[in-house]
Amino acid sequence: MLSGWAILLTSLAYLCLLFAIAYTVDKRADAGQSLIANPYIYTLSIAVYCTSWTFYGSVGRAASSGIDFLPIYLGPTLTFVVWWFVLRKIIRISKAHRITSIADFISSRYGKSTGLSILVTVIAVVGIMPYISLQLKAVSTSFNVLLQYPVVATPPVPAHVPVLADTALLVALVLAAFAILFGTRHIDASEHHEGMVAAIAFESVVKLAAFLAVGIFVTFGLYNGFGDLFAAAQAEPKIVRLLTLDSGAYGQWMTLMLLSMAAIIFLPRQFQVTVVENVDEAHLQKAVWLFPLYLLAINIFVLPIAIGGLLAFPEGLVDADTFVLTLPMAEQQELLALFVFIGGLSAATGMVIVAAIALSTMISNDLVMPGLLRLSWLRLTERGDLTGLLLFIRRGSILLILLLGYGYFRLAGESDALVTIGLVSFAAAAQFAPAIIGGIFWKGGTRNGALAGLGMGFAVWTYTLLLPSFARSGWLPISFIDLGPLGIELLKPQALFGLQEMDSLSHAMFWSMLANIGGFIGFSLSGRQSAIERIQGALFVDVFKHSGTQGGGSRFWRGSATVSDLRALLVRFVGRDRAERALGGYARGRGLNLAKLHEADADLVNFVERLLAGAIGAASARVMVASVAKGEMLRIEEVMEILEETSQVIEYSHGLEQKSRELEATTAQLRAANERLKELDRLKDDFLSTVSHELRTPLTSIRSFSEILFDNPALETAERRRFLTIIVKESERLTRLINQILDLAKMEARRMEWQMEELDPTGVLKEALAATSSLFAERAIKLELKLDDRLPKVHVDRDRLMQVILNLLSNAVKFCHETQGLVVVSAAARDEGLYVSVADNGLGVAAEKRKMIFEKFQQANEALTDRPGGTGLGLAISRQIVEFFGGRIWVESVPGHGAKFSFIIPLNRAAVRQVAE
């Protein structure tokens, strides 16, 4: 019955059943009906931890070293005891940030660093390779053992099997096809593979049932229960030795416990099922005790089966790793043997499928895509639908991973026991522990610290565990282990720097963790964090303080992106249907109409980035969103942080600057005001001194002549008359002066009352000439008149105009030639208006004085100030008046030949019209 064909067909049928389960669940999930959303399926999927290593290898290890197969299962229990702190936190963070893999998690924590995500991916792929080869080895070995039925013996290792005829290669290819079918049917933004989870859970049931079946068969079929079996064991001294723990094995016991504590979370496949595939955080509350219970159940019969095998077979005939299979075979239990084979197949395929999917996600999201997106000549950021490319990369990497696993199997797999191979992988996964545990509890961890720790730990792991396994398989010279590289004893990979007390695993863990933790802490403490590292650090460590599980912290969006750009981006990576569904859901949730919306708001941009992060990883998503968005994206915390740092400084210097500017302005104003005050003060002083001088002159003469009259009563009448005349004239002059000062002050203060009227200037001129004719006659001055017949009417104050003319006439009389005086008065109509001039033939006015004489109390000839009638205010007043009429006054003079004072008063329209008629 157990022919090769029967085994193959059964296996194939089993795989088809798995696929049917996965397919059904996926279809239901697409219809929105999740069949896996319960804690039991979740627990069973975590049980992917139990691989063919557990299924076959535990018995093998128990048969050789007794109870110390157990720490590998006690460790996860310990980790689950503190689920409240560790697992719950990691799951919460991963949901908030849409983490898709362990590489994504670490890179996201340390500022979305692409370098870190690449390093983690490389470590994961290289580290898990031995583990995958272990599964291939287990399946092919068990197949070959079963094929020999009814002979029960370990098949001899053939000297050379051609690659194409190798069972392991066939297994690898079948598993690759299977993983591709399960894991890469489509690109899902949430990276949930419900079908796969269901299939894995089913496999966990099958492997547990198969193992329990063998255990019950051995314990209760071959023996009469545990008591009977252990009683038989007591008879054999070498078996009794297995029932206690040798004190020399304590170190390794603890190492295994610590390793498995890390492995249950940090193996990529465990991270995938426990964290990424988790649909509800509450499921964890059941899984934390159900999963250890599963482990306990699958381990109860390990020791009985090992003892049964040791008692049943002569030493060395059967490999202890195959006892699970060979015991039923030896008892001719064909069906049970086939069931066990299927159980082992379940254990192996489960691990390979999940690991391949997890690793392919990492390779595509964290290794290949960031690389391709950075190659600008590929123009990927501008290309159309990329879902095809993404799927191709994932499928290709699954095939590659399995072929690499097969390569390791061909190279090194035959020389080691299953457990030894598996532990190499465990040690690699444990390298992630410092960066993750440090990252979620310590904000100070930096990108450089993580890079240094991971890099150094990985290097030491390679040197102390991976290379020796190559050496044992003959790929490297065995002297590499025994004598050290190039014969250097201190560098012996299993006794580094002379450390020989430990077993090789503990030795490797000690040195790699020393390098890893030391590098992580050392570089973190000595370096600085960038803003984004600090932000991500705070978001990860304080994940429970930030609101809810939705959204990775609110963000501040600086710049703009259009809705259509974002939609196009989503379509390219997740496909049209999913993109539309996601955007539709988003719009409905907020009552928006995206068709009408042009500019995307910050929320939508973040939403799209998170969706993309699910499909291509956080680092790539950031690059992609940045490619369609103008401007930069900043988390609000980031902004706050930056603000906090700089705003105080800026504010302070800003304040200072403003204050000093204000101060400068005030100073300038004050200085200007001060200057003005000084100027006014000087002007006032000048004015007062001039006025008092001008007033004192007539007062002095009035007083002195009055005193003469008073003191000399006997003065001649003629003399007395002369003096009195002077007194009267000086009084008149004083009155005039005071009137003029008042006039000027009024005019300057614009308080003068003007009685403007339309008048013919001829009358005014004639009146003025008549009024001054006596002056002319008195001094025998010849007057010449040049008046036009018809002068234009002007709009003026009659008295003021008269004042100006009188002023000019009296001035002309005063400054005329002493003996042959001649004054020429002309008036004419010019284009500008009425032109009037008064010319004398006196001394004239020097060029530099021509402007000054129109100022107050300035006279061309200081020597003439004593002359009666000169107040020094006449021209100043005349200028004020003419300017008020809108005209101008000026003087022309040739020194020595007289001066000519002229003024022009512009015409108003009415007057112009009259002249034209």
Partner: protein, 72 residues
């Protein structure tokens, strides 16, 4: 009973108990060629301790579930 932080504190206490129970030197006390009802002592001890720890984790998780539900 529902003091905040109690779930975490109990988890840590349980972790310490479990770690001590599963590791030497406590483990070495039971590592003897003694048989209990015909079963090896170390084997019985480990599985009993394991089952006990699992039961306590279960109780603790149930308490945590109650308290988080109460808080929400």
């Amino acid at each position: 009973m529902n003091r905040p932080g109690l779930v975490g504190e109990r988890a840590i206490a349980l972790f310490i108990v479990a770690f001590l129970a599963f590791n030497p030197p406590l483990l070495s006390i039971f590592s003897a060629e003694v048989f209990l009802f015909g079963l090896p002592l170390l084997y019985v001890y480990l599985f009993c301790a394991w089952a006990g720890i699992i039961a306590l984790v279960g109780l603790q998780a149930a308490a945590a579930a109650r308290s988080t539900r109460g808080n929400r």
